[in-house]
Subunit: 160 residues, 2 copies
Amino acid sequence: MISPRPQPDHPQPDHPESDHNDAMPEEPTQARRFGKARTAQASALLEDYAELIADLLASGGEARPTDIARRLGVSHATAIKTIARLKREGLVTARPYRGVFLTEAGEALAGRVKARHLVVVELLRAVGVPSEAAEQDAEGMEHHVSDTTLAAFSRFLKAR
Amino acid sequence: MISPRPQPDHPQPDHPESDHNDAMPEEPTQARRFGKARTAQASALLEDYAELIADLLASGGEARPTDIARRLGVSHATAIKTIARLKREGLVTARPYRGVFLTEAGEALAGRVKARHLVVVELLRAVGVPSEAAEQDAEGMEHHVSDTTLAAFSRFLKAR
DNA sequence: TCCAAAGTGTAGCCTTGGCTACAAATCGCT
DNA sequence: AGCGATTTGTAGCCAAGGCTACACTTTGGA
Ligand SMILES: [Mn+2]
Ligand SMILES: [Mn+2]
Ligand SMILES: [Mn+2]
Ligand SMILES: [Mn+2]
């Protein structure tokens, strides 16, 4: 699942007794970080589908499996299987030969994801990353940007 | 595989005839972006292992499967299977009950990955992301930071 | 109208990266 | 030296996300 607003992103650092540092993080800390990164990765594909479907519906009007597949650069069979997963997760509805539509939850997800995508690209541009690199790298990075980090990005952009 | 320095990261934008924009990217462009993001993701795990093994060897001296597993927050069986893949890819050597060591290629990869990790964390901190969020999000974002973007990050940090 | 092209769906295959359960080897302490 | 705890390895399971091949709808143009 992808709940709209899960627990607080980053609880306080907890261990203020930092000897001197430069050393490795504590074992449980590191394990937690890797675990969260894995979790984030697990939602990445669904996020990209939701965003893409919203864009297709908004611009052209149609979000057919083939369109989606071509945009993502995968086979249509792959797209169809992922769409099945989106259905299972309650993010889209789709009847055979009838195209794909977003549910309430799907719309909400797409909105958040698109907004985040834009901010990430903007931030990259703002620190001097060339446009195409920014667009490219944002496509992967965005899925690992927490609410905390997103907020910091927005502040930075506004204050600049 | 993970070649040290693949093709140029971002060939020129190619299509300077941008009508007015705000619309979706061209289909082949978008497909290429998603494809590269998938490619980057495929190396992420190997990169994390290489970095972690290097850190363990540097600090304590030993990089045993159990240590690695605990640090990553996965079962030791999972770690052992991934170590087998690292061996296959020529990044580490490991003989039963003898710990894991990096090959030349593994060292090289670990070095690049660690350097990139540090720059990404620094950049995040520099734009106002709190430390723990920076550390957390960098763990996932780093794998999608191209050389072009990394260079921009470094310039930004130096110039600041 | 009807038939070929385009789109859709299904089946079957593969790899990766998780897991648990169990068996074997090694280590460390008395 | 021996034995229990730890570490390591193996087997077997699963889901996700790729793919190709093939069959079935639907659509649109002659
Ligand atoms: Mn994306
Ligand atoms: Mn995106
Ligand atoms: Mn990482
Ligand atoms: Mn890292």
